[in-house]
């Protein structure tokens, strides 16, 4: 038997852990329902409560619903942080990780597997938010192909935030600590260009914070497909920021995992 055959590959290991992650997610309605319901509720309130904002000179669209439709995608991704982080912290707390450490499982397989459940929720969210938005009267300026790119970008963002959750869960091993990230993520979301375009934010300090906040570029990437059409600069920034967050968070998770799974 060759060494390669004796060492299980990512392809052979990851599906088992991915399947476990999917089943675990499906069995917890509390993990699926709030990330679908809360963003839609806030979208309904904001779209209606702030519709007068479209009368601000130079507002980029005449539908606040279309403008705000990117908001639930981002909010849903924040829930991904919690889901991924809490699941991994529970695995550590229950001793599942210690048992895995006795097997020849690779760290990469574990990370890919854990993120699968997050991507499942991300897919459900993207379908639900887009369907609700279209049903309520929004339209996608970039067309059907744009809707597909919107799906891909939203999944990239969900994976990026899920990876942050993985890092927090692996680093702390505490579900409470992961839950503590939620308000911080929520603050990042609100201190962005989520409610008004950056050039229309009147407060200087707020505009500065929104400009250095990476969440602004994620939202603007998603939003460009809905209200502008094909804005390649906004898309490049959106995908670029999502991929950068994902790479940094996965690197951090890999290091944290290596430290945690020291084999004896």
């Amino acid at each position: 038997m060759t060494a390669q055959a004796a060492t299980p590959t990512l392809r052979s290991q990851a599906p088992y852990l991915a399947w476990r992650s999917v089943i675990r997610t499906i069995r917890q309605p509390i993990v699926i329902v709030p990330p679908l319901v809360f963003p839609l509720f806030l979208l309904a309130i904001n779209a209606s409560g702030l519709s007068a904002a479209t009368n601000i000179p130079n507002f980029p669209t005449d539908s606040y619903l279309a403008f705000a439709l990117a908001f639930p995608f981002m909010q849903g991704s924040i829930f991904a942080t919690n889901t991924a982080g809490t699941n991994v912290a529970q695995d550590i707390g229950s001793g599942f990780f210690n048992r895995l450490a006795l097997t020849p499982m690779s760290g990469r397989s574990l990370l890919v597997g854990q993120l699968t459940g997050v991507l499942l929720i991300g897919t459900l969210q993207a379908v639900a938010f887009l369907t609700a938005g279209l049903a309520a009267g929004a339209s996608i300026q970039s067309g059907v192909l744009g809707a597909l790119v919107l799906f891909v970008l939203s999944l990239c963002i969900a994976a990026a935030f899920g990876a942050i959750g993985l890092f927090a869960g692996l680093r702390t091993g505490s579900a409470e600590a992961v839950q503590g990230l939620f308000p911080l993520m929520f603050i990042l979301l609100f201190l962005s260009s989520a409610t008004l375009p950056r050039d229309l934010i009147a407060s200087d300090w707020y505009r500065t914070v929104a400009t250095i906040n990476p969440v602004s570029y994620l939202i603007e990437g998603l939003r460009s497909l809905i209200i502008t059409g094909w804005d390649f600069e906004a898309l490049a920034l959106g995908f670029g920021v999502a991929i950068a967050i994902f790479v940094v968070a996965i690197w951090g998770s890999t290091v944290a995992l290596r430290n945690r799974m020291v084999r004896t």
Partner: protein, 258 residues
């Protein structure tokens, strides 16, 4: 010791115990303090351009948002103390308190006093920061006192709701049952713009939402141009009166449950 003195002693002890736990673990106060500050920053800072819309006739967008945030923190301050009641039920402490107190309503009143003191601390901090960051106050001292009075009644009403829920459900896990209805009522009031600029379904809901009258009266007091203040006080006090019955009946259920 008279009956009244015994009652007050229980109120004082329960209130002090709760405040003492917050002093020893400031993390308990952090959500109460951080959320109003954050909402004030996010709404007043991020949406200030909305204040220049045609038909937006309020004198200052910071002050417009401050009133909502003040009343929101009053409501959530009342509900957050419900977490303490739930946690004490989970640990069995509330049951021992109910056994020890001659008049058990004193235990609930004690939690209510703690809720009010905690909320007053939050208001002082939020008000100080709002003034320091340039919020203009249009009303005089009496009108501001009216605004604070309104916030106090909202705090008491929210606390009575939380106490009623927790004495019925008797576990911290029931926290969403306290938060969600309150969240729905608060968020369907005119938060971002005055009622005349609301469009769609939220315009109809805000029209019949009693919290709308409270927020609008609060904003008019802040501006120094009182409007429908009696209606707002009546709505808030009416809610508090109804919820006090809800809380007392909840206490009876908790007593019956043993």
């Amino acid at each position: 010791m008279t009956r009244r003195a015994r009652y007050l002693a229980v109120v004082r002890t329960v209130a002090w115990r709760n405040l003492h736990s917050v002093i020893r673990a400031p993390a308990l106060l952090l959500p109460m303090l951080a959320f109003p500050l954050f909402f004030y920053m996010a709404f007043a800072g991020g949406l200030s351009a909305v204040g220049s819309l045609p038909g937006f006739d309020y004198y200052n967008y910071d002050a417009f948002q401050f009133v909502f945030v003040l009343l929101q923190s009053a409501a959530f301050g009342g509900v957050f103390i419900g977490f303490s009641i739930g946690a004490d039920f989970d640990s069995g402490f509330t049951r021992r308190l109910l056994l020890a107190a001659h008049d058990r309503s004193a235990v609930i009143v004690g939690f209510g006093v703690a809720a009010l003191i905690r909320a007053a601390f939050v208001w002082a901090v939020v008000f100080g920061i709002a003034l320091a960051t340039g919020m203009e106050v249009g009303g005089d001292g009496i009108e501001l006192a009216g605004l604070i009075g309104l916030a106090v009644i909202v705090n008491v009403a929210a606390f009575l709701f939380a106490a009623g829920m927790m004495t019925r459900l008797r576990t911290l896990q029931a926290a969403p049952a306290m938060q969600l209805p309150l969240f729905m009522i608060l968020m369907t009031a005119p938060i971002y713009v005055p009622r005349n600029l609301l469009e769609g379904w939220i315009s109809s809901v805000a029209q019949v939402n009693p919290f709308t009258a409270i927020v609008e009266a609060g904003r008019s007091l802040m501006a120094g141009d009182p409007f429908h203040v009696l209606l707002a006080f009546a709505a808030a006090a009416g809610f508090a009166a109804l919820l006090s019955i809800f809380a007392i009946r909840g206490l009876r259920k908790a007593e019956a449950a043993g």
